[in-house]
């Protein structure tokens, strides 16, 4: 017992962590969010079950009816599905954070002499890596089903970069939700009832010309429309500049609004 807890512990009083320590703490906490996959590889499938299901359902159930052939529809809808999945996945940050708070893990981390931001950044880094995985899975499965990339590696990388940029902006909103929601169920309900309408009132899954005029006006504004267009362009070819710009402006706008709110919520907890 004494070997474990010496009477005069050789404690070093640490000073504020520098950049290197901050990165190290972030990496440790990102590891923490990812290491469970090692024990439970099914986690990777759990992570992807929704994308796979949506891809199959949309292609084979709606595809023929909407676009005349499943192949044409897949080429149209895969970028939309990728965007939808990114948005949903960006809210897993909120769920994870909220779970940490309700379970007390967040307090434990905050009572440690680590970089203040690490509990957030560690999680966001891990969730970003999961986004990359989901994107790769979508693309891989899509290609098996008949999706074709007409642009090349740069286009794919560009699409991924754009999606990640938007996901990072979204993570500010996710942090705010995670910090302020009462419990995990509330986060999920909030995420679902927010994201479903937003992703469906866009051109992600269907051409919009049969929608009523007022809805088309919203569709024109909806960032999902622009993101889906940009990802389509980057994967299948076609104009990208304007839709990508609007998407990035939306991302910037989200970050400008939610970053200060999230930081304030975080500080209030601290």
């Amino acid at each position: 017992m004494t070997a474990i807890m010496p009477a005069a512990p050789a404690v070093t009083v640490s000073t504020r962590p520098g950049v290197a320590a901050t990165l190290r703490h972030t990496a440790t906490l990102a590891w923490r969010s990812l290491v469970q996959i090692k024990h439970n590889p099914m986690e990777l499938i759990d992570l992807s079950i929704q994308p796979i299901m949506f891809l199959l359902l949309f292609t084979y159930v709606f595809g023929g009816a909407i676009a005349g052939s499943t192949g044409d529809y897949l080429q149209f809808s895969l970028p939309g599905l990728v965007v939808q999945n990114m948005l949903f996945a960006s809210l897993t940050t909120a769920i994870g954070l909220n779970t940490d708070i309700t379970k007390g893990v967040f307090d434990r981390l905050r009572s440690l002499p680590i970089a203040r931001s690490a509990p957030l950044t560690g999680r966001i880094v891990a969730d970003t890596l999961k986004q990359v995985w989901a994107f790769a899975l979508f693309l891989g499965l899509g290609m098996v089903l008949g999706f074709r990339v007409h642009t090349g590696v740069l286009g794919v990388m560009g699409a991924l970069a754009l999606l990640l940029a938007f996901a990072l902006a979204m993570s500010w909103a996710a942090v705010l939700i995670g910090l302020t929601a009462e419990n995990q169920e509330k986060v999920q309900i909030m995420a679902f009832s927010l994201m479903m309408p937003i992703t469906f009132t866009s051109n992600a899954f269907v051409p919009t010309d049969t929608m009523p005029g007022w809805l088309q006006k919203w569709v024109e504004i909806n960032p999902v429309t622009h993101l889906a267009d940009a990802v389509r362009g980057l994967l299948s070819g076609g104009p990208v500049a304007s839709s990508a710009t609007v998407s990035l402006l939306w991302a910037a706008g989200l970050a400008v609004v939610f970053a200060p709110l999230s930081i304030r919520a975080f500080r209030n907890r601290a």
């Binding site: 962590p17 590891w31 002499p113 690490a118």
Partner: protein
């Protein structure tokens, strides 16, 4: 004397509610302070402030000489915290939970592993170390949680209701661990709703109620403050119960309580006891049991606060659910009316005189 913890006038409000209303605390190095109080008394708020998780609205506090607000980082490098929840990542294994903390404390990987192995052995979790924490029992999670707070060899440990919701065996195990830590020179601040726990573990006790310290001292000092001892008489024949109650009431000058065939009264002057014995003898009443004992901490608490500690705990459920102390009146309000019901049941005999 150097204080491990020194707080002056700590205050914290939540809206209209004063969770802490001017709390002073002094904990000498190496002592175990028990913070006793009902749910919502402000115990958790005090711990959260001292552990740098919450900023006080007023007052100041130092931990090991460092200000908890301005030098929070230094404070964090010296403390360990075990909250009301078993704050472990359920998806990680026991080993991983501890290695993660070690790595966050900037230990090299090998050292973090070594420390994890050491602590798991100490807390009897070696076999479970490779399993995800979600498969652990409540007691195992608490032990893992406590182990996690010890990874950095803290000088000072905060234990916020560490045994709430534990079964008696797990509680006894945890007590042994806490005693061991104290023996190793770690200063411990332990909050509890359980009087027995404070009585068993604490060198010093402070009693919280409604965000204030209403009493402090050692367990014996607190018991002495009410000045009273308790006389208990159990007549051999139950039919004598009323007679005994009458005699005891006459001599002591206050109505005793009768429950479960036992008459108990508060005694301020022990010299009155022989006359009770004489009167009972004259009346031909045979006492199967007659004892004079110190007030239990339970009774002290009742005398101090006007309500019983465990009533105020809201029925003794998980207890921690309202742990943020956002509703200090949540349980305490109902206490004063109901305390008579549990009398006798919770007043255990510890010392028997005569």
């Amino acid at each position: 004397m150097t204080y491990a913890i020194k707080a002056e006038g700590l205050a914290k409000r939540y809206g209209e509610t004063r969770a802490l209303d001017g709390v002073d605390l002094e904990v000498p190095r190496g002592r175990l302070l028990g913070v006793l109080g009902p749910n919502g008394a402000g115990k958790t708020t005090a711990v959260r402030i001292l552990a740098t998780l919450l900023r006080p609205d007023g007052g100041r506090a130092e931990v090991a000489g460092y200000d908890v607000v301005r030098q929070a980082h230094q404070v964090r490098s010296l403390i360990g915290l075990t909250g009301q929840y078993a704050a472990v990542d359920e998806t990680l294994t026991g080993v991983e939970n501890l290695v993660m903390i070690g790595r966050l404390l900037d230990m090299p990987r090998a050292e973090a592993r070594r420390r994890a192995t050491e602590l798991l052995a100490r807390f009897d979790l070696t076999e479970a170390g490779g399993r995800a924490a979600k498969t652990y029992s409540g007691g195992m999670r608490r032990r893992l949680d406590l182990a996690a707070s010890l990874v950095g060899r803290p000088q000072l440990l905060f234990l916020d209701e560490p045994t709430t919701g534990l079964d008696p065996r797990s509680r006894a195990d945890l007590w042994a661990v806490v005693r061991g830590l104290r023996d190793d020179g770690v200063t411990v601040l332990l909050t509890t709703q359980y009087l027995e726990e404070a009585d068993q573990l604490a060198d010093d006790i402070v009693v919280f109620d409604h965000g204030k310290v209403i009493a402090s001292g050692t367990s014996d000092e607190l018991k002495a403050t009410t000045g009273a001892q308790v006389l208990e008489v159990r007549p051999l024949l139950p039919s004598h119960l009323d007679l005994v109650a009458q005699v005891v009431g006459d001599v002591l000058g206050s109505a005793p309580e009768t429950e479960g065939g036992l008459v108990s009264g508060s005694v301020r002057d022990p010299s009155l006891v022989p006359s009770i014995v004489r009167r009972l003898d004259d009346l031909g009443v045979v006492a199967a049991e007659l004892s004079l004992r110190k007030s239990s901490l339970d009774e002290v608490f009742l005398a101090l606060t006007g309500h019983r500690a465990e009533d105020a705990a809201g029925g003794g459920d998980e207890g921690g659910d309202d742990g943020r102390d956002t509703s200090p009146d949540g349980g305490a309000g109902g206490g004063s009316g109901a305390h008579d019901d549990t009398r006798g049941g919770s007043a255990r005999k510890k010392e028997v005189a005569i």
